[in-house]
């Protein structure tokens, strides 16, 4: 009897194995485990067997039944999955069609992107970002920056003046972001580390001069600040903007509100500062010089501190540096924009090139 059960097991296993559809497996289940199945009959008639056979037949029969149930269940799962996969494979879409609803992506203006990048770099160096008025008093734009009335340096910057009868002093469009140096020092004692991004205006218009442009001013005042610190700060900033291999060059210059004053250049990032390209031709970006002129800087002139002495700026105890440069200039260099005027033309075909 036990042998018969083992035979049934072998037959049933083969049938289950061979089943390839839900119908096949159901047939196999009815045949081997159904109410009329031989194994069912054997187990049902177990009490009719001689006592010494009941144990072995019962245990073998039940074990085989359990095993077959498990096999059938597994087979059913596998057939169902196969059928699902088959039907899914037929249910196709064209994944190359656009998403829906299609979203257009807008673009930030390259000046905004550049300004934010500079802000982020300087914030990382411990600077706050401040903003000042664009329509400004002569006092902040010139006088307190050590440009007395009649000083020829005032002529260096062609100034837009405002028709105005309400104010005693002349009102103008700021010619640089530097007036905020004085405002910021009036408002807070040292130490002061701040930058001022913003619009500035000069009465000049051609491919390299725009009557409106953007500058970033920097000012650091505290104890023991030196020209070497200015160099290190500008170098750190320029490397963030133009790459880790850049070098800086400072050339002595003249600005009324800094002393000593310098102009600063960054080593050319196209030719690596050599002035010539790999094929031996002259580098067009730096015009073969190896350096690119960027802006002006210097140590805050003691006369400027004199205008904010009441706020705790004593030239005998604090020193400071200031710098300024054009945002458009950086954007032009980084993105290869040749004409300054493109920035204010706002052609979407230009704007949409900068993500």
């Amino acid at each position: 009897m036990v042998e018969r059960i083992e035979q049934i097991e072998a037959e049933a296993k083969a049938a289950i194995e061979a089943a390839s559809s839900a119908t096949d497996i159901e047939e196999a289940r009815v045949r081997y485990l159904g109410r009329k199945a031989e194994l069912t009959g054997i187990l049902r008639g177990i009490s009719d067997l001689p006592p010494e056979q009941r144990g072995p037949v019962g245990s073998t029969g039940n074990k085989v039944r359990k095993a077959l149930e498990g096999l059938i269940e597994a087979k059913v799962d596998s057939i169902r999955h196969a059928e699902l996969e088959k039907s899914l494979a037929g249910d196709r879409i064209d994944v190359t069609l656009p998403g829906s609803p299609a979203r257009r992506v807008g673009h930030l203006h390259p000046i905004t992107r550049t300004r934010r990048m500079i802000e982020d770099v300087m914030v990382g160096l411990g600077y706050q970002v401040m903003e000042g008025p664009e329509v400004e008093h002569d006092y902040y734009n010139f006088t307190a920056l050590n440009h007395p009335e009649g000083h020829p340096a005032r002529m260096l910057q062609d100034t837009f003046y405002v028709e105005d009868e309400q104010h005693v002093e002349q009102v103008l469009l700021r010619t640089h972001t530097s007036p905020m140096q004085v405002r910021a020092m009036e408002a807070a004692p040292p130490p002061l580390f701040m930058i001022v991004p913003g619009k500035t205006y000069r009465r000049d218009s051609d491919a390299t001069h725009s009557p409106m442009f953007h500058q970033v001013e920097g000012l650091a005042v505290g104890e023991g600040i030196t020209l070497a610190d200015l160099k290190g700060t500008l170098l750190a900033m320029l490397r963030e903007i133009f790459g880790p291999d850049r070098e800086i060059r400072m050339r002595p210059h003249f600005f009324p509100f800094t002393e000593p004053s310098v102009e600063f250049d960054v080593s050319c990032f196209r030719c690596g500062g050599s002035g010539s390209l790999d094929d031996g031709s002259r580098c067009g970006l730096c015009k073969g010089i190896g350096w690119i002129e960027l802006g002006g800087a210097g140590m805050v002139d003691p006369n400027v501190f004199g205008f904010v002495a009441d706020s705790g700026y004593d030239p005998d105890s604090v020193t400071g540096f200031a710098f300024g440069f054009g945002v458009e200039r950086i954007a032009m260099l980084r993105h290869g924009v040749g004409d300054l005027r493109l920035f204010f033309d706002n052609d979407m075909r230009m704007l949409e090139q900068f993500s």
Partner: protein
């Protein structure tokens, strides 16, 4: 400032290639714009020739066949044959010959060539061909002297390098050749000759034995300057010093070659020896001069005074100028004889018939000259120097140099003494340069010896006191170097800072860096519009006076223009904008005219408004500083869409942006700041004149108006060639103020489920949905969690002039599941409130 290298080398030859000198100067504070070479690119192949014989060319009337000794093998046998077209060529002349192989200015290379059958072995050059002058009447003929075959470069400034300096306005000393030479001395260490007013050389044609000025100026029995010229200075403030010296027996004529070619190299046009001397002295010393024909000055009387308003003067440039009483003039008995510091008058101009000359070297008030120059629109070499404020003592230097030149070049007899009217000048106090000061500013230690040496080479007097230096400043640096910090700069710039200065970061205490909360939120607002598919633009702050008309603004509207420029570049840029809308409309118009089929643009920028209500800075809060800004400059955000914002796809055509599309963008913007805006029509309040009156509203946040939104009025749209556009503009500070970002307080949320109930209410067509929602909210009490409109319907089944609003109400309690019994009384209250505003419950 053009500096011919050879002229500078009279005083200091730094022994550097001009290019290298330019580089060194740039690195020590004097920008060299460029280095140009005057004349041929190289002096190679240009030699002195002696014309031996000239015969007419057999086949060409205008050509001569010359035999020229050029001292070489090519001319050994009776001379070198050169065909020459100049009418003035003659035997016996000393000339310059360009031998075959020489390269002319402009690049033409001289070759052996047959001219009408005669072989020519070189070219006899003219002044003009060598860029030595403008004379084009024939070849350049030299005085005898140099032997045939002598390189011409030893006789003439051929291939002269000229440095074009960009002198900063503080460095008046570098507006003179001698000052530049001293700079070259300081940066190269090469020796410096004494100054031309101090016994140094003056020019190749001026002998050094003529240096005894006292003897020159005081021949026995000579006329005194003071007897011939009476000068009265009425305004010492505008004319701190006036010096003049008379010269008799002046022979006016062309200047000698060396003087002319130096002036040409410096960029000036030779005129006559007397005038050339004034220019030469100016270029050499930095002090401008003026020459009067003294016989044309009645009684020799000159008065320096303020001009009268409207007083006219005929100036040397041929123009008449009308002066004001803010300007200083030189007057003679009959009227004005010059504009002080600017330009002389033609009335006493030196001419060929002049025999008596008064040489003026005066000092003028810089700021006044600057203003006069601006007011007259006249800038001369003289005024561009005086406006930077020269030291009064420079006048006597110029007189000293001029005297030697007048004698040597014009054969003049100087009158005795110099008329010198000088206001007292406060003596320059010596300045202490304390030990350690240089290091404290530069961050680089420079030892005391090197500091002292740098200053001495720059012309400062240095006395030592231990490690401190007591420094006296020469007159030409008097106004530039007045403080210790100025000495630090002088030491620094000569100390090869570029190579030696370390790059460090400030090491003292600071404050944490960062963006302010408002700045962070501004970025977020801009990013939100970018995410909504808008491109950011940057418009001009300027606008034109007609914009207010295009936008239909009432002339009384404060936005009709607050800030007007006194000196705009053009009328189109004469006002500062009061709204961003004009800029954005203009950009939309431009893009569409260039073929764009839709536009979605935004700008984040300032507008410029009257400061009557002095208000917030651009992002809220005041600008820092003790004095309020003259105007109000709030930061605005303006968005505009024409056509679809999102593109059409295979699933369907995109609809053109309408009011609600743009309102959605605005709501997304507010949402990204954690707040919400409402759009209302305020009964009785005028709508924006540039908006469609029925499709526009006021944008509010927390009940405060912050801007507007709507369809652009068709008449305004037509001004910008737009069919249909929708836009909004808001003041950013107000929106940021309402933003809770970063300040949100957590509230526990309830685990109990909400109860949703819908209702439909009929209201009058003109009843705003917001009023209906407000009625529901006000009567719903605490348990009403939210209410929203989910459908708007009018048409069949709804009466004329009415609309049906379908609302979804959600009720929720924090601590229990609400029962119908609890909701019932609230519900009846809501119904009652809706009926109160005229609503009828539907169905």
């Amino acid at each position: 400032m053009r500096v011919p290298y050879g002229w500078m080398a009279d005083y200091c030859d730094p022994g550097l290639l001009p290019r290298d000198l330019a580089e060194r100067m740039a690195m020590t504070g004097t920008e060299v714009e460029r280095v140009v070479t005057l004349g041929p690119p190289s002096a190679e192949g240009f030699v002195i020739g002696k014309v031996l014989d000239v015969v007419k060319h057999p086949d060409a009337d205008r050509l001569n066949v010359c035999q020229v000794d050029t001292g070489d093998a090519g001319s050994a046998d009776g001379g070198r044959t050169i065909v020459c077209g100049a009418p003035n060529v003659a035997a016996g002349q000393t000339v310059v010959v360009a031998l075959p192989g020489a390269v002319m200015p402009g690049g033409m290379k001289i070759k052996q060539a047959k001219l009408r059958g005669v072989e020519s072995n070189g070219m006899i050059c003219s002044d003009r061909e060598l860029e030595l002058g403008e004379d084009h009447n024939g070849i350049l003929v030299l005085e005898d002297g140099p032997a045939a075959g002598t390189p011409a470069a030893g006789v003439l400034p051929l291939a002269e390098p000229v440095l074009e300096l960009e002198v900063t306005p503080n460095r008046t000393d570098c507006f003179g050749i001698y000052g530049v030479a001293r700079e070259a001395h300081a940066i190269s260490g090469a020796p410096l000759a004494p100054a031309p007013w101090d016994g140094g050389p003056i020019g190749p044609g001026v002998g050094s034995e003529s240096g005894d000025l006292e003897r020159l100026g005081d021949p026995a029995g000579a006329v005194k300057t003071a007897d011939r010229a009476r000068v009265l200075v009425r305004d010492e403030e505008l004319c701190p010093r006036f010096t003049a010296r008379g010269y008799a027996e002046v022979k006016v004529g062309p200047s000698p070659r060396w003087l002319r070619s130096r002036l040409i190299a410096a960029g000036m046009r030779p005129i006559s020896n007397v005038v050339d001397i004034t220019n030469y002295v100016m270029w050499l010393t930095g002090q401008p001069m003026h020459a009067y024909d003294l016989d044309l000055v009645p009684e020799g009387e000159l008065v320096i005074r303020r001009a009268e308003n409207g007083e006219k003067v005929a100036a040397l440039d041929g123009n008449d100028y009308e002066l004001t009483d803010r300007m200083v003039a030189v007057a003679d008995r009959n009227g004005l004889a010059g504009i002080g510091g600017m330009m002389g008058g033609s009335v006493s101009e030196v001419s060929d018939s002049t025999t008596t000359v008064l040489m003026e070297a005066a000092n003028w008030n810089g700021p006044n000259i600057l203003r006069t120059s601006r007011d007259l629109g006249l800038r001369s070499e003289a005024s561009s120097r005086f406006e930077k404020q020269l030291h009064p003592d420079l006048t006597l230097r110029a007189q000293a140099v001029a005297a030697r030149l007048m004698v040597e070049v014009c054969g003049a007899t100087p009158m005795t003494g110099i008329v010198d009217i000088a206001a007292p000048v406060p003596a320059a106090e010596p300045i202490w340069l304390r030990a350690g000061r240089v290091e404290r500013i530069l961050g680089l230690a420079i030892d005391t010896d090197r500091q002292a040496r740098a200053l001495e080479m720059l012309g400062f007097g240095v006395q030592r006191d231990g490690k401190d230096l007591l420094v006296s400043v020469p007159p030409d640096r008097h106004y530039d170097v007045t403080r210790e910090i100025d000495l630090v700069e002088e030491v620094g710039r000569i100390s090869d800072l570029d190579r030696n200065l370390p790059a460090t970061l400030p090491s003292g205490p600071g404050r944490p860096g960062g963006l302010s909360r408002q700045q962070v939120l501004q970025r977020r607002a801009e990013d939100s519009l970018r995410e909504s598919g808008f491109d950011e633009m940057v418009g001009w702050s300027f606008t034109d006076p007609n914009e207010k008309d295009r936008l239909r603004l009432d002339p009384e509207d404060p936005r009709a223009g607050a800030v007007r420029l006194a000196n705009p570049l053009s009328e189109e840029q004469s006002l500062m904008r009061t709204t961003l809308l004009g800029s954005v409309l203009g950009a939309a118009q431009r893009n569409l005219s260039r073929g764009a089929d839709r536009v979605a643009l935004f700008e984040s920028g300032r507008v410029y408004l009257p400061a009557a209500a002095f208000g917030p800075g651009p992002l809220g809060g005041d600008f820092p500083g003790n004095t309020r800004p003259p105007f109000n400059e709030p930061q605005h955000l303006c968005g505009l869409a024409v056509g679809s914002v999102d593109p059409s796809t295979w699933r369907g055509e995109a609809s053109g942006a309408d009011f609600f599309a743009l309102k959605g963008v605005l709501e997304h913007l507010a949402g990204s700041l954690g707040t919400a805006v409402s759009v209302e029509r305020i009964p009785g309040a005028p709508t924006q004149p540039f908006l469609h009156p029925g499709k526009s509203g006021v944008v509010r946040v927390d009940e405060r108006p912050i801007g507007w939104i709507g369809e652009i009025h068709p008449l305004v749209a037509a001004e910008y060639d737009l069919d249909c556009a929708v836009a909004f503009e808001i003041a950013l500070a107000d929106l940021l103020q309402a933003s809770p970002v970063g300040e949100e307080a957590y509230r526990d949320f309830t685990p109990f489920p909400p109860v949703d109930r819908d209702l439909a209410v009929l209201v009058a067509e003109e009843m705003p949905a917001s009023s209906v929602l407000a009625a529901v909210r006000d009567s719903g009490g605490e348990l009403l969690a939210s209410v929203s409109v989910f459908d708007v319907y009018s048409g069949e089944g709804v009466g004329e002039g009415e609309k049906s609003l379908a609302l979804r109400l959600r009720f929720r309690a924090p601590d229990r599941t609400l029962s119908d019994e609890e909701i019932e009384p609230i519900w009846s209250g809501i119904i009652a409130a809706l009926e109160e505003i005229g609503g009828k419950l539907r169905g």
